[in-house]
Amino acid sequence: MKRNTFSYKVKQYLMFGGVGTFLFCAVVIVPFIYGIYLTFTSWDGVSRDKPLVGFANYAAAFKDADFWMAMGRTVIYSVFAVVFINILAFAMAYLVTSGVKGQNFFRAGFFVPNLIGGIVLGYIWKFVFNRAFVAIGNAITGGTTTSLLATPRGAMFCLIFASVWQYAGYMMLIYVAGFMSVSDSLKEAAMIDGCTPAQAMRNVTIPLMRSSFVQCIFLSITRCFVIYDVNLSLTKGEPFGESVMAAMHVYNTAFTYKRYGQGQAEALILFIVCAIIGVTQEWIGKKGEVEA
């Protein structure tokens, strides 16, 4: 067997990865390239003619102050959400793999938020923030409590809170799989060698779970960056349009304001920013792995 010829490589690749790559290209890459073409037109989304306008949409996107404000907000939101999601998910994964009674029951419970789609989830939290919390607040202070959703900072907090709640159980799953893949015998060996449980955790378990960390952080960053459903149903950009995240702004520009080309161009910028952050994080994760 010649393992280095080009045709061997291609054959091997196609045998295993052919179908996957084909489907991926067909539904993601092809439309994406067509989408890039559309950024050079002043298409409104429905009409027949798509007049070419060169880079005008990019110029408009760079000048669109609302877009950059939304981007800034998205970055702030993502940083907080990613940190809290991962801390909570890791802690929960640790607790439900430590052998406490009824851990399967707890795992199922933590996963429940994921069973509810983003739109409905947003409605439910809106309920809780607008009504339940206000009612409780009124009962405690005896006065008038305003909803958190009525102030820009409060709305941001609610979005972060709902996202942490939504994704922590999901990321917990990945951490659980990570904990499970670190064999008990290794930990036991470390303990026999005189490690405290905390040390065993820091020096044995966590390094071995690096790929879980890389995955979870990457996934949570990418999810948060393109948040749309929850944004729509929980805050709808309110109050005063100060909780509009990047994806929602893109959607509004393309469809509500009927500037499809500009919306698509802004989406492309959003994509590039995400890709840079994601790839950097992957790269740091990989680099650490080699050193470890």
Partner: protein, 429 residues
């Protein structure tokens, strides 16, 4: 290992069976799902609250004529949804859109409906370049909703909306209600479409030449703080704000709460329109809700009039993606909707909408609609201005929300509105 294989085998069997079921169930994209003479058309309904009634009506129509009408609704934004339909070259035969879309979408894709009976029967058809493109579903009007029962409970007298003509009358009446024990007698819906597209919009509409005024705004020549109409409407808005029962959470009060308050008579007045009927009805409705013109201290030609006009227009797709026969069938259906007894009953009674057709004498089942109909018949309706830029309601909705939440002064609001118009590309029409 054995276990894995077993599980795999089971899964595979499931897949195969389901796969076969999927194929058997007809995976193909055959377009002729209809019965009768085989004509089958599609209708896009963007008024979610009448979806079920519409499906019923379509069934009736099929029984009578054999033409199958499939009624669809989408949760997505209307423009986004229609964009995907046109992108896949399979648009709906009949599309329900907002009036402003008729001038863009309808102009490009719409088929000419002139010559049909209904055209002569209404003042609300939309004609572009000599072609009749827009079929009005209903008339909708904006004003101040009132709950007469709630008022009577406090004052002990029957409420006569015509007794309130000026803002001063209104304030005095509100004080009377407060004195009578109704702590906060008004409410304001906070969504951007209500504040900007419905309330602020009146500033443009209640004047002799709205178009000239808008052009002035585009050119940056209007000083709103010096504009009598703007100040009059904002004075009224301030009054609604001052007595607002959701004052503490003016911009977080959900629409449901506002509707429930009106429906059950917890408050007496709310800015709104006849489309809110379906929402009001779902609570412990006290009865006797009506609509009256917003009282202003400026008395002019528009005093005592509601604002509104034709709403939710149908256009028939006339592009190459829809066959001539289907277009014809679609137009026949719309004509039937306007002229047949079933159609008339559907609009006025089943859906409780105000019919835009003169020949429709079926009483409206919507309490607010009944009042609106009186205003329409008396010619007391200020027409809608339909040529706002697409981002108008959301951008200025934000400014209005700030004003509602006391986050900006009237001067700042006026400046923001002027700035918006001056920096926006004018809409061609």
């Amino acid at each position: 290992m054995k276990k894995t294989r077993k599980v795999l085998a089971v899964l595979l069997t499931i897949i195969l069976t389901l796969g076969l079921a999927a194929c058997g169930g007809g995976g193909g994209s055959d377009s002729s799902g209809g019965t009768g003479d085989g004509t089958s058309i599609t209708l896009f309904n963007s008024k979610n609250e009448i979806q079920e009634q519409f499906e019923e009506l379509a069934k009736q129509y099929e029984e009578q004529t054999g033409v199958h009408v499939e009624v669809y609704y989408s949760q997505d934004t209307v423009s986004a949804h229609l964009a995907t339909k046109y992108a896949s070259k399979s648009p709906y035969t009949i599309n329900m859109v907002d009036p402003k879309d008729i001038y863009t979408l309808g102009k490009q894709y719409g088929a000419d409906m002139s010559g049909y009976d209904w055209v002569a029967d209404t003042d609300y058809a939309i004609t572009v370049d000599g072609k009749v493109l827009g079929f009005p579903t209903c008339i909708e009007a904006r004003g101040i909703l009132y709950n007469a029962d709630a008022i009577k409970r406090v004052t002990g007298k029957d409420f006569d909306p015509s007794s309130i003509n000026t803002l001063d009358d209104f304030k005095a009446f509100l004080d009377e209600l407060v004195a009578g024990g109704m702590e906060s007698p008004t409410a304001i819906l906070k969504p951007d479409w209500s504040l900007a597209a419905h309330y602020l919009q009146q500033v443009y509409e209640e004047r002799e030449d709205p178009e000239a005024f808008i052009q002035g705004l585009y050119a940056g020549e209007v000083d709103l703080m010096q504009d009598a109409k703007f100040n009059a409407l904002m004075d009224t808005f301030d009054t609604l704000k001052a007595y607002n029962m959701f004052k503490a959470g003016a911009i977080s009060a959900e629409d449901e709460l506002v509707h429930q308050a009106m429906s059950e008579g917890q408050d007496a007045f709310q800015f709104g329109g006849c489309w809110e009927w379906n929402d009001i009805l779902t609570y412990d409705y006290t009865g006797n809700i009506g609509i009256m013109p917003g009282p202003q201290n400026v008395q002019d030609a528009y005093t005592g009039m509601l604002v509104g006009g034709g709403s939710k227009y149908f256009y028939v797709d006339g592009s190459e993606y829809t066959s001539e026969a289907d277009q014809k069938a679609a137009m026949d259906f719309l004509n039937w909707l306007a002229t047949s007894d079933e159609g008339k009953t559907f609009v006025s009674e089943t859906c409780g909408m105000v019919s835009p057709f003169r020949s429709n004498t079926v009483p409206c089942s919507n309490d607010i609609g009944v009042v609106v109909k009186q205003y329409v018949d008396a010619g007391k309706l200020v027409p809608n201005y339909d040529y706002d830029p697409d981002d108008h309601y959301s951008k200025l909705g934000i400014e209005m929300q700030k004003y509602l939440a006391d986050q900006c002064t009237r001067e700042e609001l006026a400046a923001a509105i002027q700035n918006y118009w001056a920096t926006t590309t004018p809409v061609e029409h």
